[in-house]
């Protein structure tokens, strides 16, 4: 951005610096309790662990920036995974399974996008409902089956490491991060999404079809859920009807913790990226310290609420200093 300061950018950078310090601090603290954490292969395992969450959180950043939300991502992933497993076991065609998983994910996202852009049903309600819809369909499709034991050459999508410690998922994550971050910060896409989040009317009055953007970012979120399902399966090697449980909370937490405002307009893809790593370190640390997954979820919920509160308080402070509050937007345009 040629060294020029965009208004509000400074505060966003501060937010990311704080996150970065939190990340490093967390690694150090956990490392002190469990020195094995400092081993590159263990530390970088975090990035493998967070591959699918990270991908979905990046797409979710786009959505929350427009003032929307996609709660259905977790069970969309589950549905894609079940479809993948079923196809693979019935046809033994990996390629077909991959394509079908991606198509199902995309269709799920398109369904959300169509409802949200064509009707007045708010994104929260829409995706809350489709979340249950996808969950139900995945259970109906799977019945009592659990698909596990995928072929070795498929597992390579997630089990390969570079230099012995650098998981391949991190490469996927980095590639998508770079693309989405560049499009967000330097592309017209990011500009329009922020505009929609702040004031959709002004975007429409610039000759931009905002509804089409909304349709496609929900579709993107769905497609990425499909992609995440494939990567997830490569790591776990079994598709179950509970694998989507609680994923949406991790995804939303990563985005909110990363500094994206639930009121729209303000977003940070790189903030989401760092926040994803924080959540990953926490998860890995919890495993190393023998703390349960449920305790992890508990902690995550607390973190989400805390970051919502902190962002709200910071916003209020800014308002007191004369910066217009972001929350002043009326929530539902009834």
């Amino acid at each position: 951005m040629a060294g020029k300061q965009v208004g509000g950018l400074r505060s966003k950078i501060t937010h990311r610096v704080v996150l970065l310090f939190a990340l490093i601090g967390l690694i150090v603290v956990i490392g002190i309790f469990e020195p094995v954490f400092f081993k590159p292969s263990v530390l970088f395992d975090v990035t493998a662990l967070m591959g699918e969450i990270g991908l979905m959180a990046l797409a979710q950043t786009y959505i929350i920036t427009t003032g929307g939300i996609d709660l259905s991502v977790g069970y969309n992933l589950q549905l894609c995974a079940i479809v993948f497993g079923m196809t693979l076991f019935q046809t033994h065609l990996i390629f077909l399974a991959v394509v079908l998983a991606l198509v199902v994910g995309l269709l799920g996202g398109l369904l959300n996008g169509l409802i949200i852009s064509r009707t007045r049903i708010p994104p929260l309600v829409t995706t809350l409902a489709t979340m249950y819809l996808f969950r139900g369909i995945s259970m109906i499709v799977a019945g009592t089956h659990t698909y596990s034991g995928f072929p070795e050459n498929f597992k390579k999508v997630s089990n390969v490491t570079l230099f012995g410690f650098f998981p391949i998922q991190f490469i996927y994550l980095l590639v998508i991060f770079v693309v989405l971050n560049v499009l967000f910060n330097r592309g017209s896409l990011g500009r329009v999404l922020k505009g929609i989040g702040f004031n959709e009317n002004a975007v429409i009055f610039s000759g931009t079809n905002s509804k089409r953007y909304l349709l496609w970012i929900y579709a993107l979120s769905g497609l990425i859920s499909g992609l995440a399902a494939i990567i997830y399966l490569g790591r776990l090697s079994s598709a179950t009807t509970s694998m989507g449980d609680g994923l949406n909370l991790q995804v939303v937490t990563a985005v909110v913790l990363g500094g994206t405002s639930v009121f729209g307009g303000v977003g940070s893809v790189s903030g989401t990226f760092i926040a994803t790593m924080i959540i990953g370190v926490l998860r890995k640390g919890f495993t190393l310290l023998n703390l349960s997954g449920n305790f992890f979820n508990f902690t995550l919920g607390v973190i989400l609420i805390a970051s919502l509160i902190v962002l709200a308080v910071v916003d209020k402070r800014k308002a007191r200093r004369g910066v217009p509050p972001l929350a002043a937007k009326s929530s539902a345009e009834t």
Binding site: A129, G143, L249, N297, F298
Partner: protein
């Protein structure tokens, strides 16, 4: 402009009766007065819970943690009962747990101006994590004493379940509150327009906080009605996900998701309808996970019907009728 709603009371009652007939034709188990009362016993907690959710939705908010709050109430009361505490203590204590947890949701929503759906979604996870982490056996309580179960299994004159009587009382009380109290009118006002409500001297913040307290109380009642109907154990995790049934019942009952519209009695009909649909499906041989998909679709459909511009739909219908020669009015 007179009849704008698709989800009229008449239509809903018709669907309920139709579902009921289908249901009764599937099984003879409930084909007796006592059997019918057993159904009423079963649907009671759903009705009370739906009323709780409806109050929240009236103000334009929502509570995704309703199910887990109910779990907490059931756990707290059952645990106290098992420890030998009398009913006069464990019931109010359980209700208090509900009020405090829902009040926390309300406080965060109002104080920090955070959308209630995000707050309660996170709270839902906090609750689930808390149960599994901090409570012995994930809060599963075996061997609850009769001091806990007698009420849930008791029947007046051996026929009418106490639980159902409580439900009727609660329904009547809240219909009364909505009609005869300033608080009730305030809920509609705040849900309709925060600005206009403030102009009329009604504080939106205070109203929303208070409605969360009421919701917590009612969720507590619903949880106890469900938990006390047990014979042996209480498993709080069975309450997880119940919020969807409550939301479905409310929106099917014509409670507008944007707030400011709907009736308690509509929500009661909605709850019964959603309940009948689910038991019918079970007796038709569908696994219970069909419910998830169905609830999603029901919510989308019901919300769509409340937000769609019915004038347009009617105009289109009239158009079609006009072309087929029939008279559309």
């Amino acid at each position: 402009m007179q009849t704008r709603r698709v989800l009229t009371k008449e239509l809903m009652l018709g669907v309920i009766v139709a579902l009921f007939i289908i249901f009764l034709s599937l099984t003879t188990r409930f084909f007796s007065i006592s059997g019918l009362f057993s159904l009423m016993l079963d649907v009671s907690p759903t009705i009370v819970g739906t009323i709780a959710m409806t109050l929240i939705i009236f103000t334009g908010n929502i509570d995704i943690s309703a199910g887990t709050i109910m779990g907490f109430v059931a756990y707290a009361s059952a645990d106290l009962a098992r420890a030998g505490v009398p009913m006069i203590v464990f019931v109010p204590a359980g209700l208090l747990v509900g009020v405090v947890l829902a009040g926390l949701n309300g406080y965060i929503t109002v104080q920090f101006k955070v959308p209630s759906i995000v707050v309660t979604l996170a709270m839902n996870m906090v609750h689930i994590g808390f149960f599994a982490t901090f409570l012995p056996n994930s809060g599963w309580i075996e061997g609850v004493p009769t001091s806990f179960t007698w009420f849930g299994n008791g029947r007046l004159f051996g026929l009418v379940p106490y639980v159902f009587l409580v439900t009727v009382a609660v329904t009547a009380l809240f219909m009364f509150i909505m009609k005869y109290s300033r608080f009730g009118k305030g809920l509609y006002a705040v849900g309709g327009s925060q600005q206009a409500a403030a102009l009329a001297g009604i504080s939106p913040d205070r109203t929303v906080f208070r409605v969360f307290l009421f919701e917590g109380l009612l969720l507590g009642v619903a949880a106890l009605l469900k938990a006390m109907a047990t014979t042996n154990d209480v498993l709080p995790s069975t309450f997880q996900g119940r919020e969807m049934i409550l939301i479905a019942g409310a929106v099917v009952g014509g409670v507008g998701i944007f707030g400011g519209t709907g009736k308690i009695i509509g929500a009661v009909y909605g709850a019964i309808l959603v309940y009948l649909l689910s038991v019918t499906m079970i007796y038709l041989g569908f696994q219970d996970y069909y419910q998830f998909a169905l609830q999603g679709i029901i919510i989308l459909l019901a919300v769509y019907l409340t937000v769609v511009d019915l004038k347009k739909v009617r105009r289109r219908l009239r158009h079609i009728f006009a072309h087929t020669g029939a008279k559309g009015r």
